[in-house]
Amino acid sequence: MGDVRWKVVAAGLFGLAAAGLAQAADRVKVGFVSTLSGPNAALGVDIRDGFNLAVKLHGGKLGGLPAEVLVADDQFKPDTGRQLFERYVKRDKVDFMTGVVFSNIMLAALPEAVDNNVLYISPNAAPSSMAGKDCNPLFFAASWPNDAYHEAAGAFANQRSLKNVFLLAPNYQAGKDSLAGFKRTFKGDIAGEVYSQLGQLDYAAELAQIRAARPQAVYVFLPGGMGINFIKQFVGSGLSKDTMLLLPGFSADQDIISAIGAPMAGLFNTAHWSPDMDNAANRKFVAEFQKEYKRLPTLYASQGYDTALLIDAAVRDVKGRLEDRQAVRNALRAARFESVRGAFKFNTNQYPIQDYYVRTIGSDGKGGLVNKSFSEPILRNHGDAYVQQCKMAK
């Protein structure tokens, strides 16, 4: 009899202690590391502004808890990114890490987070290795798999019954991956496949090759300034008169449109999001972003905003028990948030399954140019080609 009473008391004490340990956190700490200076800063700045806007619209909270967002600049350097991750994870004891734009920096810094049991929500970089054999239970891609825009572009070329397309990308891993993505879906002939040098600014030789090959369309993967120069020179060479130029969304986003201007009118590009997408979450996002920052958001801004919404939903669903990483992870996997892109859910590799659209650049009615999406997606509920290689515990 006495034994039983003891057991009840012990169980009660244990329960009390456990409850004390599992007490909900009083705030959410997010470490945000991105490229915020130098020639590539525009992307990181947009992700940061999108993220901060979502926190601000939630009254400075994420999932009902006061949010503390620590922001730092990786200066486009992998080792700096890694140091900042270490500082936020070990010294500041953050609950989530996020922010990085570029795959090379993210891959260098990521171990600092996941090796210390901190979740990383990627607002942009989503390399195919992390979708397949190197997938990680603590890594989530809230953007789009690196190949997806190119697969969508290939599908669009099929839809337009294009018979031959000329491909151009810089000679490095992401460049080769992108053209492989295009060829995975495209059914026609490749009129030519050229790899330029990374960082190249003069495309005279490539344009001469395109002119000689006489393709119906040209598909280029040229991020940042490379794309700006190529598009300008493509139009300047007169090729745009009878050759369709097809671009991935980030090469035809609002920042690129602003830099190039009129020659962008009428170009096609593929993306998972467009400023004119007709859902309540997106209407609110675009209006509030313009009000706050006096410019149109890019897709990077939409990704930063969605990342904050995703964290907000997960914190809400676990009722603030952030210490329980498995519970937080399950809540993230469920992704119960209103994405500005409409349909969104995570695949088993924690990469998105979502729709991809073709956008065309047209007048905004006020003398400017803006992306407009075709209402029907070109790829529906699209995942990635690597998910089978991902062996991940539930």
Binding site: P39, A205, R211, S237
Partner: protein, 304 residues
Amino acid sequence: MTLFLEQGLNGLQYGLMLFLLAAGLTIVFGVMDLINLAHGSLYMVGAFVAAWLVPITGSFWLALPGAVIVTALVAVVLELGLLRSLYARDHLSQVLATFALILVLNDAMKMVFGSDLPLSAPEALAGPVALPLGLQYPAWRLLIIAVGLLLALLLYLLVEKTRVGALVRAGASNRRMSSAMGVNVPRLFTAVFAFGAALCAVAGCLLGPLLAVQVGMGENILIPAFMVVVIGGVGSIRGALLGALLVGVVDTLGRTLLQRGLHIWLPPQWSSAAGPALASVAMYLLMAGILLWRPQGLWPVRGR
């Protein structure tokens, strides 16, 4: 056929721009015996000043001479303030000091103008023009070819037919003798350096709209410019022109023909990987080959 024609024009355009940079570099090297790694930075200064002046003056054609004058003035300040003290020192000190100058000028541009500035070609020249044989070619690149040829001709006349040119040539072939003959060497050096900078500025203004006006743009073009100097022969204007055209054409044709040529022998995934890699090596092979054949360069200054 049009591919060769278009690539020939592209090679000519690239070569002539390299010539503008290499001409200044080779005179400074030949006459003043100064290795100036910061030569490309003056090209950057010219482009930034032009991009800054276009919205102020409202015209590219007013900004161009403005940028040339400002860059020449910057060069005069640099020559009087820093480079003058380097002439007597060995080449290693010069390399160190002018490398430091690259870093200083990069940060100075960033502080004054930001890390990049937009610069567009005038509206009328932004499109293509129709050439014979059904070739469309960008108007701006044609203009660059015309200006490059014109400046090359003027430079030739200046160096070969005028008194200043004679002094420069004398300085290049025998510096000690020319100073013994009563040439005001310090003043000549300042003038030569400013003149080299002015040529850089023209190249910067013309290439700015085509490429991008950004910090560090001078470093990319410095290596081919030095190659041109080495290929052509140090101190030789004619050598610089010959070397520049050679490098321009080999680089441009190499980038298309190598890949196409390899396509015949190799499967596409190999040729498209090997082509660009080989093309970027082609220039170095060209330089090495010429130096084996003529160690003094193609058209060296006599009397060395």
